[in-house]
């Protein structure tokens, strides 16, 4: 059969985001493939060098639109390390609530969105609609639906509004009730299982070769490798949670793990609301003076958090000035999105290309930056 060249993306409905993969296809099998990133490249790292430490607050969350909060967190953490700032206790817990809500929203979109590549649109409609309820909570807390700019260096930007805890708890109950319905619709469906079981494998060697992290890694290497566990930040060392892990990573397992992680996120939020100090300061100043002249002591530091897709890290370099000297971003899906597409997408059928992107957790904006 003739080899045909096909473009998966950037405007392909099977592609999440403005990303592209070139595939050379023979019959239905992909022979070669290449990632074509850069459609969302905005030069963030350069722009960040041109804005004040505080002004970057507007830029930071925009690096990854699906889950912006880990960006804010990792940026804040870096500055706090460089400037040796003690974050107030309450702020730590608020941050955890925000981060877990964001993870919940991202995972909800993901378990709903898994319907799109396999044609089960009902779950997409459900997932996104339920996620919207979380965005409502975000709007109440932070003042914006998507780009929150809430976790700031030194703490959080504002205290929680009154009575939001009850609303969050109610929402968690609702989502907890909805999860089995999603599971019935998607995961227990024999057709879905036929498509995803023993398909799109991620062996342990590949994990180490590429540097895949997150659910993909945990499901393959049979260890609870999660930044929240390995090097806890905020107050993750003071809540109880356990993450799923296993030795065999196929598409089904990876989606299945997301359900378990969501249950864990819900549990973490509940614990946080319970353990959080009821009042107290929520923000420490990072430097003297007006925000126009905030400076961060010189140094270099790498900080990372666990996003819904894995290790999210910033390398922050300060020369002591009013603006960062250099920030390098490690998007969590960088390895699988670029090298994974090149090396491990070939061999799959084109039917599975979109599913591959989805279950591997390829997120375009954080790769392109």
């Amino acid at each position: 059969m003739k080899e045909v060249k096909l473009f998966l993306g950037p405007q392909h409905p099977g592609m999440h985001g403005n990303y592209s993969a070139h595939m050379y296809v023979e019959g239905d099998i992909i022979n070669k493939s290449y990632a074509l990133p850069g459609m969302l490249h905005r030069g963030f790292e350069k722009l960040m060098e041109r804005r004040h430490w505080m002004g970057n607050l507007a830029l930071i969350p925009r690096i990854c639109v699906i889950e912006p909060d880990p960006n804010e967190m990792v940026y804040a953490m870096s500055i706090e390390k460089l400037a040796a700032i003690e974050v107030p206790e309450r702020a730590h817990w608020i941050r955890m609530i925000i981060l877990e809500l964001a993870r919940l929203a991202a995972n909800l979109m993901s378990i709903g969105g898994i319907g799109a590549p396999v044609g089960l649109y009902t779950s997409v409609y459900w997932g996104v609609a339920d996620r919207d309820l979380i965005l409502d909570i975000f709007e109440k807390i932070t003042g914006a639906r998507v780009y929150h700019m809430y976790i700031v260096p030194g703490g959080v930007r504002k205290d929680l509004p009154e009575g939001i805890e009850e609303e969050i708890l109610d929402l968690l109950d609702y989502i907890e009730g909805r999860l089995p319905e999603f599971y019935d619709l998607v995961m227990r469906s024999p057709i879905f299982q036929t498509r995803t079981r023993d398909n799109i494998l991620l062996p342990e060697e590949v994990v180490w070769e590429l540097g895949v992290t997150g659910i993909g890694m945990r499901s393959a290497v049979n260890r609870e490798y999660d930044i929240r566990k390995v090097k806890p930040y905020a107050r993750y060392d003071q809540v109880e949670f356990s993450l799923p892990y296993g030795p065999y990573s196929d598409a089904f397992t990876r989606v299945d793990f997301k359900y378990i992680e969501m249950a864990q996120s819900i549990s973490i939020i509940r614990q946080s609301i319970e353990k959080m100090p009821k009042d107290g300061p929520v923000r420490a100043k990072i430097a003297t003076g007006s925000a126009l002249r905030w400076q961060v002591p010189p140094g270099m530091v790498y900080s990372c958090v666990e996003s819904a897709r894995g290790e999210y890290g910033y390398l922050v370099v300060s020369d002591g000035g009013e603006m960062p000297y250099r920030i390098a971003v490690r998007g969590s899906s960088y390895p699988q999105g670029l090298m994974g597409v090149e090396k491990y997408l070939p061999g799959h059928r084109i039917d599975d290309a979109s599913l591959w992107m989805d279950t591997m957790g390829v997120c375009a904006p954080e790769i392109d930056r």
Binding site: K46, E49, W208, V230, G299, M300, Y302, R326, R330, M339
Partner: protein, 171 residues
């Protein structure tokens, strides 16, 4: 810092380390001569640092050097090691680390695109990745001015304001 001290001791015994910095208790920055970087990374990889988290560069234009930062991670101890080497800024080139960490391939391509650092032994790294038809110096270099470039390439809007500035004399 206790967890990293042993590690640093061990590395010090084997390699000539120029400087050690501890940004936090689970992180070590090692300044090392570029001659020894590859052996250091091999050693670290065998020592449990199986993941290359990030490879990036910093342009120290005042000192006329590029600094490459290799960040490797040990998932069992949770320690990040940041190995740094310095390269001259004119005609910067270095050997690839893809034989040690295959995942570095695209990071090197990334660094080549944004800083113009060449990685010998990684032919892929010479190709463009994010940018298309780029005709300027690598954009992450400090002497590149994105705003000027943007103005020249992408003209800005000039507004014709609708509003009549409202005259309300404040006493």
């Amino acid at each position: 810092m206790n967890s990293t001290n042993k590690l640093v001791e061990e590395i010090r015994q084997r390699f000539e380390i120029i400087d050690v910095i501890h940004p936090d208790d689970q992180q070590v920055i090692l300044d090392i001569d570029k001659m020894h970087l590859h052996t250091l990374l091999s050693h670290l990889k065998a020592d449990g640092f199986r993941q290359l988290s990030l490879l990036s560069a910093v342009d120290w234009i005042k000192d006329n050097i590029f600094e490459l930062v290799y960040i490797v991670f040990n998932w069992d101890t949770g320690v990040h090691v940041l190995a740094r080497v310095k390269l001259p800024r004119d005609n910067p080139r270095f050997r690839t680390i893809t034989p040690i960490y295959p995942g570095a391939q695209y990071y090197e391509r990334d660094v080549h695109e944004f800083f113009g650092i060449e990685f010998e032994g990684n032919p892929m790294s010479y190709k463009p990745l994010f940018l298309e038809l780029w005709d300027e110096m690598p954009p992450m270099r400090k002497d590149f001015d994105p705003e000027a470039y943007s103005r020249e390439k992408f003209p800005e809007r000039v507004y014709v304001p609708h509003f009549v500035p409202k005259v309300e004399v404040i006493e």
